[in-house]
């Protein structure tokens, strides 16, 4: 195993001084001369026809510079892949909170006042809030023009209001169930959840007379956004420039176009740059939250505990539009059968239109939902068969040579080892603590997370200063990826990490790169950056060799210098030259400065390794109140090289606590199609006083597809948390809670039902 210098160190983040002093600029911090404030009017009804819209009173408000409705816009739909959403509602509104008009004014107060003076007459239409009901043939078709939408998966589902019906599987489930000795079936519900990044969506758009659009927005996928904006605005991509800004948390929620398309039209109509910032009421009402899911899993098991068949179904309430999903359906639903060896398996997943808020992506989309279901189902089967949930898993966990229930073949499967280490750390074999007056329980859960794929372009340069510079159009959402990428450059060029600078470019200055997300960055961006850095190293050596009067093969890099070591021909010979000096000798690079530049593009293939995450929770439940306390939590990760232990651990910890919120307290509640939890006073996320003692187990030694044999970590830790805690709760009470979140009241009900023998 090679020894690395920059890689593997807990290098502190380069952006640290800016972040701790408030100097980092986020989208809402940026201003342009002459900037106006934009605000949107939203529908109070979940389903209605717009009968009339009168903006004349709004236009008369002093300071108002533009008021627009759909009538002022081209008839064009927007979407990340499925283009099914108008920029402003056109004739019909499909969810409470849908934008129907917008105002740009000199100050926010004038804009708000103008909104109140826009007169809209609605004719209410019957709404559908339940996804299952929406699927029935008698329900109103919420998108009659669905078959004409660009990006609709083919072939069409043929089911009412279902814009995607995706199946996965292998074998023949009918045959599998015929072979089974026992059959078990359970259903589960997962709730509507918000990403709850602390920074709301914000954008600043300047539609220039030249025909260019300059855009600042807290979107972590700028090239994809550029494509979406080009498509809806009818502009060529080269005319749209996305500028970098810091992003205040993403978790999947900041990949969508949100207000940017609308903001452009306000700028166009007013002739001024326009800023739109969502307040948090609007965020909770109408951003793109995590999908709620209704899941049913049926399993056939042999008497010895081996799974032989599994049939599963998940219905996702997609909300009024599919526009906020980059892949239209949620690929993570392919994990609904779990990480087990099941010869006959089938998953049916449905994306359903309803008159609820349109959903988007959140940290490992679909997986927290389906893993809650399948891992709870796993425990319930084990209990009904009288088997230890750990042993039952071990019988069935994937091993080398197995294919997953949906036909993936991984090599180097470390599921068993990861689960064993989690269980061991949690004291699975030791007696549960017996505290009088409480119910205690333990639970396990395991899943895997593979690396995402995409494309990335990186450029690395060195000038006379000798400080390598990484150029990319890739914004850091807080994961620390910029620091890790600098470490890679430092590693390849043998310089200290703090001598590597980053230049963030706008989208006009670099080719397409996939943005942050999908656990693709360490892998895809990493390989591109390493590729560029290695190419730069080759060029440095090629340029340095003649200066050192040596053949290239004798030349290497060490501590910021190019070095020629002693050789048998010249035993006392030792020459060195600073890399800055080498660069200064090079002819001017295509960016006008003397120096050496290397570019590299990498398109990642789906890798053949995955990464397991197993977690164990211990809970105490107060039998008089149902209050659930997580007294211990273990998270075990199957990892390759850890590029930066401090950053890696930060991702693990943050993921666990998001999972904790999902498990115990977070729910966007609705009343008649309206979100009723409209502030952080109602929608509660964990505070510093709510965190459990946490142990992280790193199961090292795997070989990942990312540079230095590493694996990505960003999305794993939040996936199995709800399942591990749910299983612990089931263990404590002796009865399951099958819908999230696991509240004290639900636990109380489960305790009472079990006591009365229900």
């Amino acid at each position: 195993m090679a020894i690395y210098s920059a890689i593997g160190s807990s290098i502190t983040r380069g952006e640290g001084p800016d972040k701790v002093t408030g100097k980092s600029l986020y989208a809402a911090d940026i201003t342009l001369p002459g900037m106006l404030w934009g605000k949107a009017l939203r529908s109070p009804f979940p389903h209605a026809r717009i009968v009339s819209l009168d903006t004349s009173r709004a236009r008369a408000v002093p300071g108002v510079r533009a008021v627009i409705t759909a009538a002022d816009l081209p008839d064009s739909l927007v979407g990340r892949r499925l283009r099914d959403m108008p920029v402003l509602a056109r004739g019909v509104v499909r969810f409470a909170g849908e934008k129907v008009a917008a105002v740009a004014a000199d100050d926010p107060a004038a804009a708000e006042e103008a909104l109140l003076l826009i007169d809209v007459e609605y004719e209410e239409l019957p709404p559908i809030f339940d996804a299952a009901a929406a699927m029935s043939p008698g329900a109103p078709a919420l998108h009659p023009a669905m078959s004409s939408y660009e990006g609709l998966p083919q072939p069409p589902s043929g089911i009412n209001n279902v814009f995607a019906h995706i199946t996965w599987g292998q074998g023949d489930v009918a045959q599998g169930f015929a072979e089974a000795d026992l059959v078990f079936e359970h259903s589960f519900n997962a709730q509507l959840m918000h990403q709850a990044y602390i920074e709301p969506h914000a954008c600043l758009v300047s539609a220039e007379p030249s025909g260019k659009a300059q855009v600042w927005v807290n979107n972590k996928d700028p090239y994809a956004l550029r494509e979406q904006l080009a498509a809806v605005w009818g502009l060529p991509e080269e005319r749209i420039v996305l500028h970098p800004c810091s992003i205040g948390g993403d978790f999947g929620g900041k990949g969508s176009f949100m207000d940017a398309p609308l903001c452009y039209y306000l700028s166009l109509h007013s002739g001024r740059p326009v800023k739109m910032v969502m307040d948090y009421i609007q965020e909770l009402m109408a951003a793109n939250p995590r999908h709620p899911a209704v899941m049913t899993i049926k399993s056939g098991v042999k008497r010895d505990g081996a799974l032989v068949a599994r049939q599963a179904r998940v219905v996702f309430d997609s909300g009024a539009y599919g526009a906020f999903k980059p892949t239209v359906y949620l690929r993570g639903a392919d994990h609904l059968c779990g990480v087990y060896r099941i010869p006959h398996a089938r998953i049916d997943s449905y994306m359903v239109y309803t008159n609820n808020v349109p959903k988007g992506h959140m940290r490992s989309p679909a997986k927290p939902q389906v893993v809650f279901a399948v891992e709870s189902h796993t425990d319930l089967i084990a209990r009904e068969m009288g088997l230890d949930p750990y042993e039952f898993r071990r019988i069935n966990l994937l091993r080398d040579g197995d294919s997953s229930p949906v036909g993936h073949q991984w090599r180097e499967i470390r599921a068993d080892e990861t689960l064993r280490r989690a269980a061991q750390s949690a004291g699975w074999d030791t007696p549960k603590p017996a505290k009088p007056g409480t119910l205690t329980g333990r639970g396990l859960a395991i899943t895997d997370l593979s690396q995402g794929v995409g494309r990335f372009a990186a450029r690395v340069s060195i000038g006379a200063s000798g400080r390598p510079k990484l150029h990319m159009a890739f914004w850091d959402t807080g994961t620390g990826s910029h620091t890790v990428l600098r470490q890679m450059v430092a590693q390849e060029l043998s310089v200290p990490v703090d001598e590597v600078d980053i230049e963030l470019l706008d989208t006009s200055e670099m080719p397409f790169s996939s943005g942050s997300g999908g656990t693709r960055v360490t892998y895809t961006a990493g390989q591109a950056v390493v590729g560029a850095a290695r190419e730069l190293r080759r060029q440095l050596i090629r340029a340095a060799a003649p200066l050192l009067d040596s053949p290239e093969e004798d030349v290497s890099l060490h501590s910021g210098r190019v070095v020629v070591g002693p050789s048998p021909q010249r035993p006392a010979y030792y020459r060195t030259i600073a890399i800055g000096e080498v660069a200064a000798h090079a002819p001017a690079a295509n960016h006008g400065e003397a120096g050496i530049v290397a570019e590299y593009e990498f398109a990642s293939e789906p890798p053949d390794v995955t990464s397991f995450c197993a977690q164990a929770a211990e809970v105490e439940i107060d039998p008089e109140t149902g209050a659930i306390t997580v007294t211990r939590f273990v998270t075990a990760h199957d990892v390759g090289a850890i590029l930066n232990p401090l950053l890696h651990q930060g991702q693990v910890e943050g993921g666990v606590i998001q999972g904790l919120g999902y498990a115990l307290m977070e729910e966007l509640q609705t009343e008649d199609g309206h979100i009723s939890t409209l502030s952080f006073g109602d929608y509660k996320i964990p505070t510093s006083a709510d965190i459990p003692p946490l142990t992280t187990v790193l199961v090292e030694g795997a070989s990942g597809p990312a540079p230095y044999r590493s694996k990505g970590i960003g999305e794993s830790a939040n996936i199995p948390v709800a399942a591990a805690i749910a299983n612990a709760v089931t263990d404590a009470i002796g009865a399951p809670i099958t819908n999230l979140p696991l509240t004290a009241e639900k636990a109380m009900t489960a305790i009472k039902n079990r006591e009365s023998g229900n």
């Binding site: 602390i198 401090l646 943050g654 510093s688």
Partner: protein
């Protein structure tokens, strides 16, 4: 005209009565360190000090604190030298995306000014008004504890002002 002392300097700007302190700082004075998060005083991203007290600037009218001394994140470092709390947040993983960080640092500084040697529980109780979605809080608590260890001021707990 609203007049406030911000980070030791007298500042003034025309602002209507309903101008929130947060907006006064960010838009009238160009000090964008304090952030708007939840808008209802819960998340703490807008936290500043007003006459040494923790304040939610999103729930404060600028006019209502006329004449007060306001400390924002921009005033925590001493002429470019980072405060021990700021340095600790860098060294111990106290931030990730950074949006809550100005508020966290103001709150942490106020804690250590009040109680230079807080226990872990005291840190959690004090800091629970500053929400973070990235770190899971472990890094923040470690950072505050490290700053407490590193700070020179080991004076005993401050008496109250009565």
């Amino acid at each position: 005209m609203v007049k406030l002392k911000i980070n030791g300097t007298e500042r003034e700007a025309q602002a209507p009565a309903q101008r929130l302190l947060l907006d006064f700082l960010r838009y009238d004075l160009g000090l964008t360190g304090a952030k708007e998060g939840c808008g209802v005083g819960v998340c703490g991203a807008c936290t500043v000090l007003v006459d040494g007290e923790l304040f939610a600037s999103c729930l404060t009218l600028a006019a209502a604190i006329e004449g007060a001394e306001v400390t924002t994140i921009e005033g925590i470092a001493d002429q470019g030298r980072l405060h021990p709390v700021q340095q600790a947040f860098i060294d111990h993983g106290g931030f990730q995306c950074g949006i809550c960080t100005p508020g966290q640092i103001i709150a942490a500084k106020a804690l250590l000014d009040f109680n230079p040697q807080p226990t872990e529980d005291e840190i959690k109780q004090w800091m629970m008004g500053n929400l973070c979605r990235c770190t899971g809080y472990y890094g923040i608590i470690n950072s505050v504890a490290a700053a407490a260890r590193n700070t020179r001021n080991n004076a005993p707990r401050q008496p109250t002002d009565d």
